[in-house]
Symmetry: C2
């Protein structure tokens, strides 16, 4: 039988537009002689991961469009679903596979294999269709990568549609030969993030995009990613130096804009921060006959700087430029709340907030080598130490930077947040005691002893970050922008986080006591 | 049998502290001769509405504490659950009632009646226990009101524990006589919001609270509410005038602080807004050889003012005062996004974001009459028109204000967001056409014709707010602070909202065309 695998690119919540896409692809499949049309379940509504306001009226319209599609197919049977068992009687939706799978980086091969195993076990051909789409439940976006499959009863793959682009393929299920699966690479990770970002922009009707460009790797990667989604003449990079920003990073930001062909502006925050300091200095609080002052300490001034960048400069620059601005935070920063609410934790969308720092570097290299084809992100952005440049303690030209030690914390935080066993401080300390931590979290061998001379310093670091992860970090995440998700467990609304007191079990306290008394 | 109904006040995520509470109440019940102890299901963990990081370690500790409680009870049986069927063989957890019910304003009587009906139907005594607690799933908080019940097989209420306070009661199920149920009032609404706010403050370890006091009713109510949760000497009210703020509202804010006994400061935003205007005016964007300017139009300047208040003044004042600041928005504003991200849509917690404007006024009157016992919120705050005071078009002393017409939109938005039929624009226009809208939404009779001279102006208003509700409003809500919930359907993380294109069905377009051609 000639099977038409239909893989449209759809937009959530716009059935009329999606109908045009889908019917166009169906017509092509019919013209190529398809005797059966298989369509992804949500190809008219788009991927819906949350509520639809006025849902009754919305779904009534989808049903009407579904009837029109069936009419268009005429005598050719048309099926909506995701996975199908094919046999002599046609195609049956296969309940063994649930809803369309959102893309998770690194899991393509195992998903494909699970379908091949099922085909072999049941000795039936299996077809899988999936729209190219991005859906969201408010703060969490997910990509759907297409990559339709046809699998023979032997388990052999006989057709694989492209990932992350609309397609239609008519395959003769009896005569098609075996094909090789396309391996998953960092190009898929990039495509998944780009699709989510592009869809967010389309759904919200955004025209222009501003990126706060510090010269660091995170904002450079976001800018380089964005410059292939939005035309460079509709993009503005803004560098916002204070006295703590180095000539190195200012130079990177300027060259990045030149390389990408975007607009560029340097808007310093020093005058505004000074005004705030002066205004608070002269401000008197009164209560009855009493009076007191509000003191902006150096630590508080770090946040004043961050908020001045995000809320005063970037927000107004984005509005005046006719657009929005991006949030450039990475997943390690999100995990422990190393960001300022209304400062760098602001923006319309966070494209790399589900990437660990080592993945950000890898994506940056991919953007230079394969997307832009030249060193669009200047080499120094990869070489300087990661730094917020908010105080003299973070001077990059002296090799100083952030308190997060990425080669260790990236992997510790990944284990805490993404592993299925959901470990806590006790499991962390147990692995430290049995010298199995590096292997368990996937960090380089020897790094734990290099960073921590003794159990006390290890435990102090563990407690600092665990407390931030569950406490302030969790509170801050409830203010974070929507983000592109590519991991098995992303922050955002798909992870239901509560504000709770950070918790250390009694057994942790006892194990720590025993470890500390051993020296 | 002498039944001990145990109603502790617990904190989510702090089993050790909760154990102290619960074991204290159990000891009292045992001392009063209880032969059976009934405890709310989550009384050790606290109300958990979302994930717990390191959950395995957390629940292992809860189980250990549960064993210690059982030991304390000795030979007296101790049961964890929520609703119990009582018979000769003791108490059995009753699967007919699910998880503990969060408090929803206006639903106490119907919940109590459903338990009475069940007791009558099954001819069994029914006991219900519930902790006094507030739980959260990140952006959504909910209150659990206690209010334990004992119901005889006749359906008669024989014991009702107090609402919103810890209690323990030993009742003889054979000899107890009928008692009258305590009617639900606005005092319960107040208590539910106060409990959620207080718990948020405790869980996050917050000491001091700043309220941006505009002189309007919303911020006045939040300040008056907060001043009974945090001692007034740990509260600061900040008024942040610009040229658009009236002497009336500035005066209300100052008197409010005096009445509540809090600290007060006036920190104008004019100098900072002028600096931003000047800085943007002299800023040149560059792209290759080209250059252009960023223009801050009057509409954009409204948002610059709002962000200056929230992100520059309040955030820094809160940090310097050693605390956090509140978000003072109401539910009508949240519905249509009438607020500025990083401006008035900021703050650590939004106590009244689940209250419609008419409920805010009612809560304000209750605070004055029953909580403070005098006119703590000055009368003028109730009398001036609601206004953001961001432009000459919103001059309160000329009777001008916000674009939301609360006596109509409050009720329209409530219907859109809270009614079970989940209506959309088509249903709204149909009710308009059949003159059943006011009755359906619960607004005053005659208001629709008074506001809208014809179908065209009605439809324009409907489309404006529906588009904002589903579009920009939805996007803005993903940035809104956590909120106290009291309605059947609150915004925040319990409502899974997607960013989608605002949708108008084809049938809406047709009905509108037909209505407009009729005149």
């Amino acid at each position: 039988m000639k099977i038409g695998l239909v893989q449209p690119e759809v937009i959530p919540g716009d059935p009329q537009r999606n109908f045009e896409q889908v019917s166009g692809l169906c017509s092509r499949a019919l013209a190529e002689g398809a005797e059966l049309l298989l369509l992804p379940e949500n190809c008219l509504s788009g991927a819906l991961l949350g509520d639809v306001p006025g849902e009754g009226e919305f779904f009534a319209e989808c049903e009407e469009l579904e009837r029109r599609l069936c009419k268009l197919a005429g005598n050719v049977p048309l099926k909506f679903g995701n996975a199908f068992v094919l046999d002599a009687n046609g195609a049956h939706e296969w309940s063994g596979v649930p809803e369309p799978m959102p893309y998770v980086h690194g899991q393509v091969a195992s998903f494909r294999k699970s379908l091949q195993d099922a085909a072999r076990e049941h000795r039936r051909a299996v077809a899988y269709v999936n729209a190219v789409s991005a859906g969201n439940a408010g703060k969490s976006w997910r990509a759907f990568d297409g990559r339709g499959l046809l699998i023979a009863p032997s388990g052999d793959l006989v057709a694989e549609l492209p990932a992350f682009e609309p397609a239609v393929r008519v395959v003769d299920s009896e005569s098609a030969g075996r094909v090789e699966p396309k391996p998953e690479t960092i190009a898929d990770l990039h495509a998944a993030i780009a699709l989510q970002t592009r869809t967010m922009i389309e759904v919200c009707g955004i025209r222009n995009v501003v990126v706060g460009a510090s010269g660091g790797i995170d904002s450079s990667v976001v800018a380089a990613l964005m410059a292939k989604i939005v035309p460079p003449e509709r993009m503005l990079l803004v560098n916002m130096p204070s006295r703590h920003n180095s000539a190195t990073t200012k130079g990177i930001a300027r060259r990045l804009a030149e390389n990408l062909g975007t607009w560029f502006a340097e808007i310093p925050i020093e005058p505004s921060v000074e005004l705030t300091v002066a205004q608070f200095g002269s401000c008197e609080l009164r209560r009855g006959g009493e009076s007191r002052k509000l003191e902006l300490t150096p630590a508080l001034l770090e946040n004043v700087q961050a908020r001045d960048r995000g809320s005063r400069v970037l927000a107004a620059a984005a509005a005046a430029f006719g657009g929005v601005f991006t949030c450039n935070g990475n997943k390690a920063e999100c995990t422990v709340g190393y960001a300022t609410i209304m400062g760098d934790l602001s923006g319309f969308f966070a494209p790399i907030a589900d990437l660990w720092k080592h993945e950000v570097y890898a994506l940056g290299r991919f953007l230079n080598e394969s997307v832009h084809g030249f060193e669009a992100i200047p080499r120094e952005a990869f070489e300087i130490p990661p730094s917020a440049e908010l105080s003299p303690a973070q001077a990059v030209e002296e090799g100083k930077g952030d308190p997060i030690v990425y080669p260790y914390h990236d992997f510790l935080f990944r284990w805490w947040t993404e592993s299925e066993e959901r470990p806590g401080p006790l499991a962390t300390l147990e692995h430290y005691a049995s010298k199995t931590l590096e292997k368990t979290i996937g960090a380089e061998s020897g790094i734990v002893d290099r960073l921590f001379p003794d159990a006390a310093s290890f435990a102090a670091d563990l407690e600092r970050w665990w407390t931030l992860f569950c406490g302030m970090g969790s509170a801050k995440r409830s203010f974070a922008p929507p983000l592109a998700s590519v991991s098995p467990w992303a922050f955002g609304s798909e992870r239901s986080e509560s504000a709770l007191r950070p918790f250390f079990p009694q057994k942790y306290v006892e194990l720590k006591k025993s470890l500390l008394s051993r020296r």
